[in-house]
Symmetry: C2
DNA sequence: GTTTATCAATCGAACGCTCGCTCGATATTG
DNA sequence: CAATATCGAGCGAGCGTTCGATTGATAAAC
């Protein structure tokens, strides 16, 4: 649950530091949302939540959340229809639960990773690596959030958009800081941040493709960092 | 219907050359698939097809294809349920129709644009611009194809994947040719092509964001070209 | 010029099915 | 024997799809 502020250099190191397990996530989820659930015992609740989230992400990412029925979910989790409704208020509530947890988790991890890193070039590398390693571990979460964001209700969708904007703004600030201190060349920092986001998202959107080609997340991270640094490089500093 | 092989420099010029109207697309669609439709008169058929495609793309891109009911579609087109079924065999057939037409159209336009262009750097610029301008005009088509590809039946999904792979291979060949002739530096051309694709896709996936920021497609194209050329630049040729 | 016949085009009620969701009954546990 | 947790048949609504009825325009017959 606690992460050191040093830049993660490898996926293994990041995984150890961030300590992200489905069980841990579900425990936290239960503690925050136990009021909306009819089950009170944490041990039982966490165990079933794990089954539910695991199955939901698997089914929704294969067929789409709208096409996934709660009977599919019931069959895959081993819980009955009524059993499911002890943990969720509605089908949409389930989508919200996942999105919310994913947002708060990734926001927290990114913030922690950047704590104590002040040099823009190092900030950029850390942010890129952290984002990619995080989405590697929580790929199902990220994929779900991306594909299902626009099917949410209005107020929940707005939160998703806001979170997206904020994470892009983080990159924007880093690029701007680099330009202001003369480390990066003058360029459209806002657009640069958007393009970087596109590169980061491609990792979890097309992970199957990359995996089948033998591209691992560390090589991907290296290449994205290289692309951004070349894009931002001043004339003299090749 | 005919396009000149010269590189498009502006969206306006591309639009004039490519001559892509919904009516023209529907006419072509009808001529190719009239056997599966119960309506025989081209004038009437094209007019209704336009309504159907327009409404389908609008509804599906807002709520998702699975969440869009044929009664929604009926209300928006003004056609009755039975009327719709004079043009489509099933709901999935409708999705296939759109995907198929979009694929063949964009493949043809890209090929035509690259006819007679042989210098890798120029090929790269032309391919990027053409892809972006095309997706700007047919954004609804591209967005639909991307988001709904995995909800198709197996054999149709495979075609979608194949088309995706082929368009990435096109970029791969251009980068490789540039490396072989020493114009581009040695780098992972395959991964470079993937990253380029991610940048191109972001334009139609997040077009609302870019539009709200006043980023037009020509500026976007310039920036993507700049990013790729800096990524591929040799040491001496800055 | 009026009526009739023809046929492509469209309609919309109805069918069978699956959906999200509920709730009284049942099982499990301390 | 409470309290907690789970079950699963059943509800109404909405889905994709069908098909006999209806329309409207054109051609044939008188």
């Amino acid at each position: 649950m606690t992460a050191s502020p040093t830049t993660p250099t490898s996926l293994r190191e990041f995984r150890r530091q961030a300590n992200l397990s489905l069980q841990g996530i579900c425990r936290e989820m239960f503690r925050e949302a136990s009021d909306r659930m009819q089950v009170q015992g944490e041990t039982v609740a966490v165990q079933n939540l794990m089954k539910i989230l695991d199955a939901t992400l698997a089914l929704a990412n294969k067929k789409g959340f709208a096409a996934m029925s709660l009977r599919d979910l019931s069959a895959r989790t081993g819980l009955s229809m009524g059993g499911l409704y002890a943990y969720i208020r509605s089908k949409e509530d389930l989508a919200q639960l996942i999105q919310r947890q994913g947002r708060s988790l990734s926001q927290r991890v990114l913030e922690q990773a950047l704590e104590g890193v002040h040099e823009p070039r190092q900030q950029l590398r850390t942010a890129i690596r952290t984002h990619l390693y995080l989405s590697e571990i929580l790929r199902a979460w990220f994929y779900f959030s991306y594909m299902e964001a626009k099917h949410l209700g209005p107020e929940e969708r707005q939160k998703a958009v806001a979170s997206d904007v904020e994470s892009e703004a983080l990159f924007h600030r880093i690029l701007q800081a680099g330009q202001d201190t003369g480390i990066f060349r003058q360029a459209d920092a806002q657009l640069g941040a958007s393009l970087l986001k596109a590169l980061l998202q491609d990792w979890y959107l097309k992970r199957g493709k990359y995996r089948s080609r033998g591209v691992d997340v560390e090589h991907y991270a290296d290449t994205v960092i290289e692309m951004m640094e070349r894009f931002l490089a001043t004339q003299e500093s090749h």
